[in-house]
């Protein structure tokens, strides 16, 4: 039972264009969402996060949008750069509602390739 789903295993975009990575979740108790980026042979690194009390969070070229009614979030990268090529993982937790607020549930990841 996958609670966090990234339905696109891969995405290819042209340098300078927008990359949109999508993530869906099923557990309505999730209230904190994170994106991690992973290069080959390295551990995942934190990219950006959003609390369920917001619908948008922006950090430079990266913006995360949250649609709670649809249980959907997306990561926008504008403009995309070749160095952004990596696997992007969506993750969720019950960050504010207590319980297992330390436990992240991850999606399977989306491989983004940005072509020069």
């Amino acid at each position: 039972d996958q609670q966090v789903k990234q339905n696109s295993p891969s995405l290819s975009v042209q340098e300078g264009r927008i990359s949109i990575l999508n993530c869906d979740y099923t557990n309505s108790m999730f209230d904190y969402f994170l994106w991690y980026k992973k290069y080959p042979a390295e551990g995942p690194t934190f990219l950006i996060s959003i609390s369920s009390i917001k619908d948008k969070n922006e950090d430079g070229r990266f913006t995360v949008f949250l649609n709670k009614s649809a249980k959907h979030l997306s990561l926008h990268i504008v403009p995309s750069q070749p160095g952004d090529s990596a696997v992007y993982f969506c993750a969720a937790s019950q960050g504010r509602r207590g319980g297992s607020n330390y436990k992240l549930t991850f999606g399977k990841g989306t491989l983004l390739t940005v072509n020069p």
């Binding site: 966090v4 330390y102 992240l104």
Partner: protein
């Protein structure tokens, strides 16, 4: 180094053998996590340590898996009588704070385990 350190980076073993994977978290981080990533899957939570509290072992897939954290620092994940389905990348992470909404996880590079 300043990051999370894991060893070995690669381990090939025969089915039925025991293996130990080591994690050295970032100094001062009180929370330590083990995740694993099997081929084509997302990161799967295994176990969580926070200070002197009892660990959350709810993600360990079987009683062949165990982990300990000595002195609140270094952690060892032990897999007894390894099976082929144990083949995966085992990732350790640490964080300053146990709450994921106030402190993201810092991952090591992982230990790739291959069981023949």
């Amino acid at each position: 180094g300043a990051g999370v350190s894991q060893s070995p980076s690669n381990k090939v073993t025969e089915k039925g053998k025991d293996v130990e994977l080591r994690c050295d978290p970032i100094s001062g981080h009180t929370a330590l996590y083990w995740y694993r990533q099997s081929l084509g899957q997302g990161l799967e939570f295994l176990i969580y340590f926070q200070g002197n509290s009892a660990p959350d072992k709810s993600g360990l897939p079987s009683d062949r898996f165990s982990a300990e954290r000595t002195g609140g620092s270094v952690s060892t994940l032990t897999i007894q009588r390894t099976q082929q389905e144990d083949s995966a990348v085992y990732l350790c992470a640490s964080s300053l704070n146990y709450r994921t909404n106030t402190g993201e996880l810092f991952f090591g590079e992982g230990s790739r385990l291959t069981v023949l």
